[in-house]
Amino acid sequence: MGVSGPAAFAVLLIAVTVSFGMLYASGETLYSMMKEAGSDYNEMVVKVRTSHLELVNYSYSTLPNATVYDMTFAILNAGSTLSPNEWGYIYDGMMDSTSVVGPSSEYLLPGETAQVSVINVPKVNGTAHSLVISTEIGCGLKIKWEWLGNATDGAPRVIGSAWYCPGEG
């Protein structure tokens, strides 16, 4: 037999070592990929579960004899930190960036309050309006209100508000 056996063994040993090295490298890449994805996923889930906005107050302003008014809502962050500059505003069903003025700050910390205003709302008695403050996580605070009075006199009343997250499936 001479050197044939050891030489063949050496070739096989090198092949096994290279293969193991390749598998190890792939396994490590896979592990870090999954770890990063798992971390991102957990972050998204935790953020959805711990975020919460609440309507704590509202006010309105109008000019004498004007047929429109501005409505301002005070929103309390009762959950984890959110990013108001990523929010979207859906006023009466439409995504609206002209009639709604929201906070421009980068973050809204837990316990902080922000003002969101809807401008030039027509004074029509009993007509319900809605505003959805859609946060960066997909959950939103919906507020419904109406004007009670005539075209020049009266006051708005908040009908209700709800914090909700869209369901999956």
Binding site: M1, G2, V3, S4, G5, A7, A8, F9, V11, L12, I14, A15, V16, V18, S19, M22, L23, A25, S26, G27, T29, L30, M33, M34, E36, A37, G38, D40, Y41, M44, E86, G88, I90, D92, G93, M94, M95, S130, V132, S134, E136, I137, G138, G140, K142, C165, P166, G167, E168, G169
Partner: protein, 150 residues
């Protein structure tokens, strides 16, 4: 003596060839396994990082040019391909052909960005008050919303 050396040499070459073939096969199998692990990992990773939601006011779906407008927000960590062919849109369990849909903007949605899906009103039975829309993206992630019309 000479024949002994020759046979030893032949044996050596044959054993090296056999070992080389086994090593080559092992390398190929390992390579395939390694590629499979990485590509499957990439798919699972992409699935875990993908998330989107329909953020409309469920009571008030806007109608523009005879189409309901649904707002879709990318709430994930990856860029979403946002073209009609990349999403399956179902209304009350029935698939809407992609050729009937319009997406805006067309192309991609970056994280946090909001896009619009225009669904012709003819695909929603207006005699029924409540409906369910489901969007399924190309990696199987889905988002649904129950909404009211009329």
């Amino acid at each position: 003596m000479a024949s002994s050396v020759a046979s030893e040499l032949i044996l050596f070459i044959i054993s090296l060839l056999a070992a080389g073939m086994v090593a080559g096969a092992l390398y190929l199998v390992t390579q395939e396994l390694s590629d499979g692990l990485l590509s499957r990992g990439a798919v699972v990773s992409s699935e875990m990082k993908t998330s989107f939601e329909i953020i409309n006011d469920p009571e008030n779906i806007p109608v523009v040019n005879d189409s309901y407008v649904f707002y879709v927000r990318n709430t994930g960590k990856t860029v979403l391909t946002f073209v009609p062919g990349s999403f399956v849109v179902m209304v009350d369990g029935l698939v809407v052909p992609p050729s009937n849909l319009r997406f805006s903007p067309t192309g991609t949605l970056t994280p946090y960005q909001i896009g619009e899906v225009y669904l012709p009103v003819s695909f929603v039975n207006s005699s029924v008050e409540y409906h369910k829309i489901t969007l399924i993206c190309d990696n199987g992630k889905r988002a649904s919303m129950i909404f009211r019309v009329g």
